[in-house]
Symmetry: C2
Subunit: 175 residues, 2 copies
C-alpha cells in the first residue's frame, strides 16, 4: 500500500454504502477524496438532456474525487454511486492540502496521487479520441475482465459511450 493510501486509512473516516447509495451527487460540494476498500463504485455524469454517461468504474483499491471540487471547491461535475455494497474511506482534500503545507512527506504523497490521476486521464483521453467503440470494448474486457462481469450491459455500454443495443451488436460482430 502506498504512503498516500496509508495516510488515508489513518486519517479518513469510514463510509458504508449499499448498492444504489450515493457518496455524492453532481452539483454537490463534496471535496472528499474516497479510497475504495471493498465493493464497487461508479462515477457518472448526467447530461443536460438527462442521459447518463459512466466516467469510470472504481473497484477495491481505487482513489477518486471530483478534481474541480478538490482543487477549487467548485460543485462536483459528476455523481458517485455504489453499484455493490461498498466500504470506502473519505478524507477532505483540504485537510491533506493544508497538512501538505508543512509536511513534505505528505506533499510528495499528494504529488504521487495527482500524477497517477493525471496519467489515467491522459490514457482515457487517448481512448476517447483515438479508438472506436469496438476497440474500447475490447480494451475494457482485456484490462478489467472482472468489471465486465460485475456490471450490467447497460453500464458497460454507458462507459464505452454507446447504447446497450450498439454494444449488443458489437458483441455479435466479435463472435
Amino acid at each position: 500500500m502506498s504512503l498516500f493510501q496509508e495516510l488515508m486509512v489513518k486519517n479518513g473516516s469510514n463510509v458504508l454504502l449499499e448498492a444504489g447509495d450515493h457518496a455524492f451527487m453532481q452539483g454537490d460540494s463534496d471535496s472528499n477524496i474516497y479510497f475504495v476498500q471493498s465493493g464497487l463504485l461508479k462515477a457518472y455524469y448526467i447530461r443536460s438532456d438527462g442521459k447518463e454517461h459512466i466516467k469510470s468504474f472504481l473497484p477495491e483499491g481505487s482513489i477518486i474525487g471530483s478534481m474541480v471540487a478538490l482543487v477549487d471547491g467548485d460543485p462536483c461535475t459528476f455523481s458517485l454511486v455504489a453499484s455493490e455494497p461498498t466500504v470506502a474511506i473519505a478524507l477532505p482534500y483540504k485537510v491533506l492540502a493544508d497538512a501538505a503545507q508543512s509536511d513534505n512527506g505528505l506533499a510528495n504523497a499528494l504529488v504521487g496521487f495527482l500524477g497517477t490521476y493525471g496519467k489515467r486521464k491522459e490514457q482515457r483521453e487517448y481512448q476517447l479520441l483515438s479508438m472506436s467503440a469496438e476497440d474500447r470494448f475490447a480494451l475494457l474486457v482485456e484490462t478489467m475482465p472482472d468489471i465486465a462481469g460485475r456490471v450490467s450491459q447497460a453500464d458497460l455500454a454507458s462507459y464505452i459511450g454507446i447504447t446497450p443495443q450498439a454494444l449488443s451488436r458489437i458483441k455479435r460482430r466479435l463472435k
Copy 2:
C-alpha cells in the same frame, strides 16, 4: 505568475521552435515539462492507422508534458509540435520531483500544477463523453476564440474529433 511558473523560468532552459519543429515525438523518452512563453504548440497523437488527433492547443502561458513520461519515464504517448514560432522553457520533471523531496514549497507548487492538470483533463473527458461535435466546436469558439483564428480548419476539426468536411458542414448548419 504562479510560484510554479517562476520556478520553471528560474531553473529551466530556453527552447526555440520554428513552426513545424517538434519539442518531442510520440515514442520519445522526454520527461521535460514545457512552459510556453510565446507562440503556439500543438499536442497530437498518431494512431495506429496513421491518422492524427490533436489533443490540445497550448498558447502562451500553458504548461505541458506527457504525464506517463513524467511520472513513470515511459515513452511519450503523443507528439508536441510548434504551429507558430515558439519560445518555451523546458525543465526535467525528475529535477522538480527530486527537489520536491526536500523543498516543501516546491512540492506544494507541484501539487498545484498537477491539480490544475487533472482538472483540465476531467473537463476534457466530460466534453468527449457528453457533448456532440457541434457542442464541442461551439465551446472551443467560446473559450478559446483566438485559437479558432490561429490554426487551420483541419486542426480545429482534428481537435474536436471530426474531419474538416464534417466541421465545414457544422459551420454551415450554424449559420
